[in-house]
Amino acid sequence: MFISRPSLFASVVWLGCLTAVFSIAVLLWFLWDNSWLFFQQFGIQTLWLDEWYPYEHLYGFLPAIAGTAWALWIALIIAIPCGLAAAIVSSEIVSSTWQAWIRLSMEVLAGIPSVVYGLIGLWLLLPTLQSQLNLLTGHSLLAAGLILSLMILPTIMLMAQDALQGVASEQREAAKLLGLNWNQQLWRILLPQAWSGIRSGILLAVGRGLGETMAVMLVVGSLDKMPEPFYNILEPAQTLTSRIGREMGEAAFGSLHFSALMACGLILAIVAVFFSLSAQKMRPTT
């Protein structure tokens, strides 16, 4: 009686946990199984073929992978300096009332749904790019990168600010006692101390940017072609997420095309999980 009969409460909790494990395992197994079918048929070399014509059974992943990488790079190049500067300004320069307001506004920015960003991109950013840079429609990797940078800015900024606030006040006092001026304090004390937090914020942002679908899908143009030449970011292109989003509706269930999309999803999931796990690992253990 005392040993082996679990209480009703315990069994309910176990049931809940098992449901979670079971349903997630089923989902991931189906993802794996379907994309395995695809890789079995076409082999791993599809990753670096550059032609994607589903109706002729040509499945090359390179354009979408290159597009994803480009959009992410542009986003990071813009968002990292901006986000870091905003974090430093809000935690080191302005008063704490302003700091609370800046934080709140960043959380508002983080809360805007991605499809609304897509709407802004489609009806504000694309016409602007089109008229400023003389493009055909404005659909381009540059637009995708700009929208993405807006979306990952809050992640970078909030994590960096947390990290800066976490620097022990003894360190700041010691730096001041040594007579370091503000710049030296920033570069020698604050940034090195906060670096691990900042880095994990950036990695999280990379993970989020990889998986962002709606906004990118609306502005990137969905043209399956390598950028020509490879640094041309002003032409329509394709990312992994926008490909899934655009073609999921038209691919017949069980067809090779569908499996190919699943393979896109699998690649995306593996890379995103890698980034978010490394963000977790590098987070300071406090």
């Binding site: 909790v13 993802l31 500067a85 800046i102 991605s114 802004i120 990889l210 998986g211 509706g249 269930f253």
Partner: protein, 272 residues
């Protein structure tokens, strides 16, 4: 150096307000009462753009509510397992697993849901499929916040209660829930905001653009605010459609902000 930093930071400081204001500015022409109380809500579709978006709002909220209804008990049992039964290594593994699940992009869950729920289980494009997928997407977030809420309760209180001979269930109901309800509510509100703003995973699994106003049962398709914006945004030639899209965007933003600002307020309330 300070000047350079401030100049670099200006876009980050101004953009949030600019974005929100721009959305409302664009939504202004279509943002009136007929948006909610529009006369003809029987047919929602391209032909009747400019009509009420009440069905869309209901659909979004319904899906969000169902998702939380599915996710909450499961997240609660994960958190309780973490608090009562898990050993140190199991706790670590559990946290890593949750982190991994949170890292998987939502659209991948959408793909899996399309295969498993819509095709294999034959639920069809339905409210239930969308709700289950959203539930799985918010599960890591919700479990994480519940785990942290329980972890914040002083160890002594739990020990005292257990040594008084209370069962674990009693400890939960009498000690933990009263002590941490506001933290739990914060987590729940944030998950609701998340569920409300996800679009990609429900695009092909739960929603249709036209032909539906109210779902008949949980296995029938719905319309939702998020996907409505997506479809309307691409109606390039129809100016009325774009106005409605902006108005829907403003409505969605307001709904999401309601939840996330409530969570923000609660968090401040907890701190003081």
């Amino acid at each position: 150096m300070k000047i350079i930093l401030i100049i670099l930071a200006i876009p980050a400081l101004l953009l949030p307000a600019a974005c929100v204001l721009y959305i409302f500015y664009q939504a202004l022409p279509a943002l009136n009462l007929s948006l909610i109380l529009g006369s003809d809500i029987a047919v929602v579709g391209v032909n009747s753009i400019g009509q009420s978006i009440l069905p869309q709002i209901t659909g979004s909220l319904l899906m969000m509510g169902l998702a939380c209804f599915f996710a909450l008990p499961i997240a609660l049992s994960i958190a309780l397992f973490h608090a009562f039964w898990a050993k140190k290594r199991q706790k670590k593994l559990l946290m890593a697993l949750l982190q991994m699940l949170q890292g998987i992009p939502p659209i991948v869950y959408g793909l899996c849901g399309l295969i498993v729920l819509v095709h294999t289980l034959q639920w069809g494009i339905s409210l239930a499929a969308g709700a289950v997928i959203l539930a799985i997407i918010i599960l890591p977030l919700l479990s994480n916040s519940l785990i942290h809420a329980f972890a914040r309760i002083p160890r002594e209180q739990t020990d005292a209660a257990l040594s008084l001979g209370l069962s674990k269930f009693r400890v939960l109901v009498r000690i933990w829930l009263p002590a941490s309800w506001s933290n739990i509510l914060t987590g729940l509100l944030l998950s609701m905001a998340r569920a409300l703003s996800e679009t990609a995973p429900i695009l092909f699994t739960a929603t249709v653009f036209s032909g539906i106003t109210w779902p008949d049962s949980i296995f029938s398709p719905v319309t939702s605010l998020q996907t409505h914006i997506f479809y309307l945004a691409q109606e390039g030639s129809n100016i009325q459609a774009i106005h409605t899209a902006w108005a829907s965007a403003a409505t969605l933003l307001l709904l999401v902000l309601c939840f996330s600002l409530a969570a923000w307020y609660l968090r401040r309330y907890n701190k003081t």
